[in-house]
């Protein structure tokens, strides 16, 4: 840091020597260093914190002295061996052979050795002296060893081999022999092995033979790789592969399961298959290692078996740990669903946000499109029950997606789009780490955006709730007023129409507080004014006439209800028809109530109930609202109830269409709340089937595992689960068929 300029600061600063962080006190620094750097210290410097001392150089020095001696010995023997086998032994006279043999190494004088140096027996005529052809020493026949020509050949040719290019200078210290001995081969020449004769084997002493046998063993070991090593190497390769691929896959799967589209599903499932194949391979390889040589006749050494078991065990541990961490991928449909859900979520948030700004506008348009929407409404209802919930969701999503783009002025959204395209580019270029960082960015951005939206949505819903409360209050007030009025109506039935319209004027001031309210009522007014909107003309025109009819016909209460039903389905939100019941009621009630007030209340109960029923299919979330309205409406005179509903309606439908007049949009747009949850539930059935199958597979694997480990109670529980799962699956299938 500033240490160069001002060394005094170093003391005061308590700087961490590794990360240069300024800790406030010595203690903090100490604990910081212990916590943060105690682990990495070893890694960074390849050293450890504790003291160590190496004796390797000492060791090597002593060994080198020893080895040099040893190597020289061995080399000498091999050179001699080579000379002894270099000529055609079979076709050479014994005397000549002996001469050659003597030329290779000077023989020890017979007189010098009265006893066999190995066994100590005295040499005599019976116990003759024999000379080692390799070192010239003397021993008795018993102590004499023989080297066959093939062995001699093997030893000499191996020394030659060590010069050939394919023997790489391996790290193992064994190779040192090779390089040191390389010089011999230049002396040697190719020798051919010929047929047997008395002298086809070379006599030597036990010491020379020992040295040569050791040498032979080394040669053998160098060339021979046991099967277990080959398998093990493969196993390790597979494990490395998993270590490489699994994290990548997990990242993908997590992202996909969250409904993100940053990775492609196919790619991920390919990777999953790949990883799973590697797991299978690991399993197979380790099993093979486990059973290696198991059936051989002298059974392998217990340690070999232990090694095999341990390798298998560690492979099992590895697979268990890693494989179980491998989360499942969504199926295609599931993924679509997830994508939709995510989109919906995003959209919902967007909508909520937009609604905040557009609500007033919506209200305005709503009135007009209401009429249009009635026609489509029925369709939507039938669709909802239909078998293709996805289609329904798709029906409106692209549209709103389009809207989203129009309104993408949000810098966050722009950023998200940018990054998505970057990711695409990076992916094309195959820079996976870049993709990763970008995806991380993207996720953060999205989170941030989501959060923003959620906050907005929360704010909005709060406001809505307030409004609704307000409306309810107003409605209540309205009802009370209505009641009062009705009392008046007893006295002046003929004046009703006028009081009715007065009513409206009286209500409006109440609803004026929130900024949107006035416009809303403007909408009402507009509706009244320009009710024959182009598309709604057809359903609308008959309704007034229908409504008017009962007045003239003066039908009884049941008929009245029946007639209301179709009427209000076609034009619920229309004020004109909804005024009709009033007219009717007002006409009827004075007559009925004029005679007897209690029975008059009874028929009036019909219409509101009907109205309520109609609402249900159209907007299910309003059920609550309607139910809440019920206690007020039913005991009251019928007049206010239809009004209530109607009045409440515009407020209750804040989720109304952003783009007015579009019949397709209108209807679903009111729905997102329940449509979403509902479609989720309905959609679950076909998708969960995939999941079920997966789970069944998983559980089967667990059972297998538990069985192997002998945890029987677990097996039981798992089997129970499996049975249940299968049952569920069967049921579902039955249901689907």
């Amino acid at each position: 840091m500033a240490s160069l300029d001002d060394p005094g600061e170093v003391r005061e600063g308590f700087l961490c020597p590794l990360c240069l962080k300024d800790l406030q006190s010595f203690y903090h620094l100490q604990s910081h260093y212990e916590e943060e750097h105690s682990g990495e210290d070893g890694d960074v410097k390849g050293q450890i914190k504790s003291a160590v001392r190496s004796h390797l150089s000492d060791f090597k020095k002593h060994r080198a002295a020893r080895i040099d001696h040893y190597v020289v010995e061995v080399n000498k023997l091999i050179i001699r061996l080579e000379k002894l086998t270099a000529f055609d032994r079979t076709n050479t006279e014994s005397a000549k052979i002996r001469a050659i043999e003597k030329s290779v190494v000077p023989w020890v004088n017979d007189q010098d050795v009265p006893f066999c140096p190995d066994c100590g027996n005295k040499f005599s005529i019976r116990n003759r002296r024999h000379h080692c052809r390799l070192c010239g020493s003397i021993m008795c026949k018993k102590c004499m060893e023989l080297i066959s020509l093939p062995l001699a050949n093997k030893l000499t040719s191996a020394s030659k081999d060590s010069l050939s290019p394919h023997t790489s200078p391996s790290q193992s210290p064994n190779s040192v022999h090779g390089s040191r001995r390389a010089s011999i081969s230049s002396v040697s020449s190719v020798s051919s092995v010929l047929d047997e004769k008395d002298d086809d084997r070379i006599r030597c002493c036990t010491h020379c033979k020992d040295t040569l046998l050791k040498r032979e063993q080394q040669i053998d070991e160098k060339e021979h790789t046991p099967d277990i090593v080959k398998l093990y190497e493969k196993l390790r390769l597979c494990m490395e592969k998993v270590d490489q691929k699994a994290p990548e896959y997990i990242r993908m799967a997590a992202s996909l399961n969250a409904g993100e589209t940053t990775y492609s599903l196919e790619h991920a499932s390919d990777l999953r298959v790949e990883v799973q194949k590697v797991y299978e391979l690991i399993d197979a390889l380790s099993k093979k290692i486990l059973t290696l040589d198991l059936k051989q006749d002298p059974p392998p050494h217990p340690n070999t078996l232990r090694l095999q078991r341990m390798i298998r065990y560690s492979a099992t541990l590895f697979v268990q740990e890693k494989l179980l961490g491998l989360m499942s991928l969504p199926t295609k449909e599931q993924f679509e669903e997830l994508k939709e859900k995510r989109k919906q979520e995003v959209e919902r948030k967007k909508i909520l946000e937009r609604r905040a700004t557009l609500e007033s506008q919506q209200r305005l348009e709503e009135r007009r499109s209401d009429l249009v929407s009635h026609a489509t409404n029925g369709e939507v209802v039938s669709l909802r029950g239909g078998p293709a919930p996805l289609r329904k969701a798709e029906g409106w999503l692209p549209l709103s997606g389009g809207q989203g783009q129009i309104e993408d002025s949000d810098p966050l959204l722009q950023q998200i789009h940018n990054i998505t395209s970057f990711i695409r580019q990076a992916k094309a270029a195959g820079r996976m780490d870049e993709v990763r960082t970008l995806q991380e960015n993207l996720r953060q951005l999205q989170d941030e955006y989501d959060q923003q939206q959620t906050e907005k949505a929360i704010e909005l819903s709060r406001r809505q709730a307030e409004e609704e409360d307000l409306q309810r209050e107003q409605l209540q007030m309205l009802r009370e007023r209505e009641r009062e009025r009705e009392r008046e109506q007893f006295q002046a039935a003929s004046l009703h129409m006028r009081t009715r319209s007065l009513d409206f004027r009286e209500i409006r001031p109440f609803q004026l507080e929130p900024g949107r309210e006035p416009r809303n009522h403007l909408a009402h007014a507009l509706d009244l004014g320009c009710s024959p909107a182009p598309s709604s003309a057809a359903p609308k025109t008959p309704s007034p006439s229908l409504a008017l009819e009962p007045i003239r016909v003066w039908s009884g209460p049941p008929a009245l209800g029946q007639e209301f039903f179709p009427q209000s389905t076609t034009s619920q939100h229309n004020e004109v028809p909804s005024l009709n019941p009033f007219d009717e009621e007002d006409l009827s009630s004075p007559a009925a109530e004029g005679t007897a007030s209690p029975p008059a209340a009874e028929p009036s109960l019909g219409p509101p109930a009907c109205v309520l029923k109609e609402y249900n299919p159209f907007e299910e979330e309003e059920e609550e609202e309607a139910v809440a309205g019920n206690p007020f409406t039913s005991p009251d005179s019928p007049a206010p109830s239809p009004f209530d509903e109607e009045d409440g309606h515009p407020h209750q439908r804040p989720s109304g269409p952003p783009v007015p007049g579009n019949p397709f949009e209108e209807a679903p747009c009111t729905n997102p709340f329940e449509v979403d949850s509902e479609s989720g539930q309905e959609g679950e059935e076909p998708i969960e089937e995939e999941l079920l199958l997966q789970q069944i597979d998983n559980i089967k694997a667990y059972i297998f595992d538990a069985k192997q480990c002998g945890r029987l109670d677990e097996v039981e529980v798992l089997t129970e689960n499996l049975r249940e799962l299968k049952h569920t699956l069967a049921k579902q299938k039955g249901g689907a068929d």
Binding site: Y27, Q30, E34, S38, G42, I48, K49, S50, A51, V52, R53, S54, H55, L56, D58, F59, H62, R63, R66, I67, S172, P173, N174, V176, K214, E221, I228, V229, Y232, R236, P302, N303, T304, R306, L307, M310, I311, Y313, S314, L317, F318, Q320, E321, L324, G325, M327, E688, L691, L692, Q695, N698, Y702, E714, E716, V717, E720, N721, E724, L725, T728
Partner: protein, 572 residues
């Protein structure tokens, strides 16, 4: 100053250095214990170490496809075994690590044996002690002294252990020792000798305040290891016995096969790590929580997995669940056994009287309580003898000492002679004559006031009133008030500042209660880091054995057999 980390680091480094490929770990008896304290099998398997062999095992097969990592103590036998091994190597390549200083001549004879050039590394890695907790180590030496003097073999082992600890922590300390103990002085001198001899090794970067090594003797506080403990780790050790993190549960009635021996290691067991220093009551509630948590996750047969979501959650949690079920069953068994023993042996009552004997000075009430408990049929031979020992230690010189009467009571209770003999042995081991400091009566005014207040207020927990004497010693040491006439420095130089890094070593063994004290001191005193060690880690049985071996060397063999019985057969 984390001994577990230090040893683990050594082992990891060995394995890393040997590179990829199948490996075998060649150890001797002691290093096996050292390694097993810091590594679990599955952990070490992941590092491709598949076989664990003893260097002295004759039945090893030639496996040239394996690399051998040798972690051995530098003893003469081990060097000889290794020489034989290198003459006829069974593995392809050898990485040799000695746990302590090895002589040049040994290195030379090893080098000369390596004719096939199979050795790739020869190093000293100073992991020559058993790391029990991060701040607690043991040397697993039982019976380190004979009479008042060191067994020479054990002295050299203790010196090696301590110097290895210093090296692994990279500390070159000043040394203080307990004056009243000859053994402490001897050990201090030996350690100093090694430091001087291997001065190159001990050249570490100087810290402002040099670290301090304090060598104490168990006989100064024979009380602490005699008390029943109520914190988890200490209790398990006292009642069940911990040996290199392993607990033998085979004597527990109705124990299932796979729980015969369990491993309690804070390194791998979160529940244990979090609870080892909590008291029994807290453990009880924590284990209840653990169970409940587990029950929630456990799929019961009755609790059908109703929805796919349940199922999915189950499958996803399954591996975790399996791991958890292991932990739960282990701890439930251990705690269950503890509480069974507590009620069977009436340990709460016993412990209360023990604490009274250890912490208060009311002779008549103590005597009365001891007498009362000696009449109780529930109190075992062992606990009865223990109470009398505590009484004997505390009221050794009391004017109205009625030890003979209590001994009679013991006899009447049918306590065997061996137990009764222990009482006098313990007094001989840790009686007043031996103690350098006063264990029972408070020395200064502050302490007297404290005890007075304590008496007035009453204590929160009667079972844990006792503070080991070590607490006071360390407290004084940290404050720079430890008296130099009782705990002199070795050599001329003294520490002017308050010590920061402190290594305490107790000849004759440390206890888990003291480990807890050190743990708490470490937590509450900023800037001070203490590591505690002992020739062993005691529970009452082990400490009695220690005092027996110390004074009755001829009994050693027969006694160890007898103690073995003692540990495992608890009379009903």
């Amino acid at each position: 100053m984390n001994v577990v980390f230090a040893v683990k680091q050594y082992i990891s480094k060995m394995i890393e250095d040997s590179g990829p490929g199948m490996k075998v770990l060649l150890m001797d008896k002691e290093t096996t214990g050292i390694v097993s304290m810091v590594y679990t099998q599955s952990e070490i398997l992941q590092k491709e170490v598949y076989l664990f062999e003893r260097i002295d095992s004759q039945n090893r097969e030639i496996m040239k496809h394996l690399k051998a990592i040798c972690f051995l103590r530098p003893t003469k036998e081990n060097v000889n075994y290794l020489i034989q091994e290198l003459r006829r190597p069974k593995y392809s390549i050898y990485f040799i690590y000695f746990s302590n200083v090895i002589s040049k001549s040994d290195v030379k004879s090893l080098a000369e044996a390596d004719e096939q050039e199979v050795v790739a590394e020869v190093q000293e890695f100073y992991g020559d002690y058993i790391a029990v907790n991060p701040h607690l180590f043991s040397l697993n030496i039982l019976g380190c002294c004979q009479g008042r003097n060191w067994d020479p073999v054990q002295l050299s082992r203790a010196t090696q252990g301590l110097t290895a600890l210093l090296l692994s922590l990279k500390k070159c300390p000043m040394i203080r020792y307990q004056l009243s103990s000859e053994a402490a002085k001897r050990l201090a001198e030996c350690v100093k000798q090694v430091i001087t001899k291997e001065y190159e090794l001990f050249e570490f970067r100087r810290t402002e305040v040099p670290p301090l090594l304090l060598i104490l003797d168990r006989c100064d506080d024979a009380i602490t290891p005699l008390l029943n403990q109520w914190t988890y780790q200490a209790m398990v050790h006292e009642l069940l016995g911990i040996n290199n993190n392993r607990i033998d549960l085979s004597r527990v009635p109705g124990i299932s096969k796979d729980l015969r021996e369990v491993v309690l290691s804070a390194e791998n067991d979160e529940f244990y790590a979090n609870n080892m220093y909590l008291n029994f009551a807290e453990i009880g509630s924590n284990i209840k929580n653990l169970m409940e948590d587990f029950q929630k996750k456990k799929p019961k047969e009755q609790q059908k997995l109703e929805s796919i979501a349940d199922m999915k959650a189950f499958v996803e949690n399954y591996p975790q669940f399996k791991k958890m079920s292991g932990t739960v069953s282990k701890h439930v068994t251990v705690v269950g056994e503890l509480s069974r023993l507590v009620s069977e042996r009436n340990l709460l009552e016993v412990s209360e009287v023990e604490q009274e004997l250890a912490c208060q000075n009311d002779h008549s009430s103590a005597l009365q309580n001891v007498k009362r408990l000696l009449q109780s049929p529930k109190v075992t031979e062992f606990d009865a003898a223990r109470l009398v020992m505590l009484y004997a230690l505390h009221y050794e010189r009391h004017s109205s000492n009625s030890l003979p009467g209590l001994m009679m009571d013991l006899r009447n209770k049918g306590v065997s002679e061996k137990y009764r003999k222990l009482v006098s042995t313990v007094v001989e081991y840790g009686g007043k004559r031996v103690r350098g400091s006063d264990l029972f009566s408070p020395k200064d005014a502050v302490a007297i006031t404290k005890q007075f207040l304590k008496g007035l207020k009453g204590v929160e927990n009667v079972y844990t009133q006792h503070q080991p004497f070590l607490h006071e010693t360390l407290d004084h040491l940290i404050k720079g008030k430890l008296k130099e006439n009782l705990y002199p420095y070795l050599g001329p130089s003294t520490l002017r500042d308050r010590p920061q890094d402190i290594i305490v070593f107790i000849i004759g063994g440390a206890t888990y209660e003291e480990a807890l004290t050190v743990y708490n001191l470490n937590r509450t005193t900023p800037g001070v880091r203490i590591v505690l060690g002992g020739t062993t880690v005691h529970n009452t049985k082990r400490s009695l054995e220690e005092s027996l071996i110390t004074f009755l060397p001829t009994y050693k063999l027969s006694l160890s057999k007898y103690w073995f019985h003692f540990v495992f057969i608890i009379p009903k």
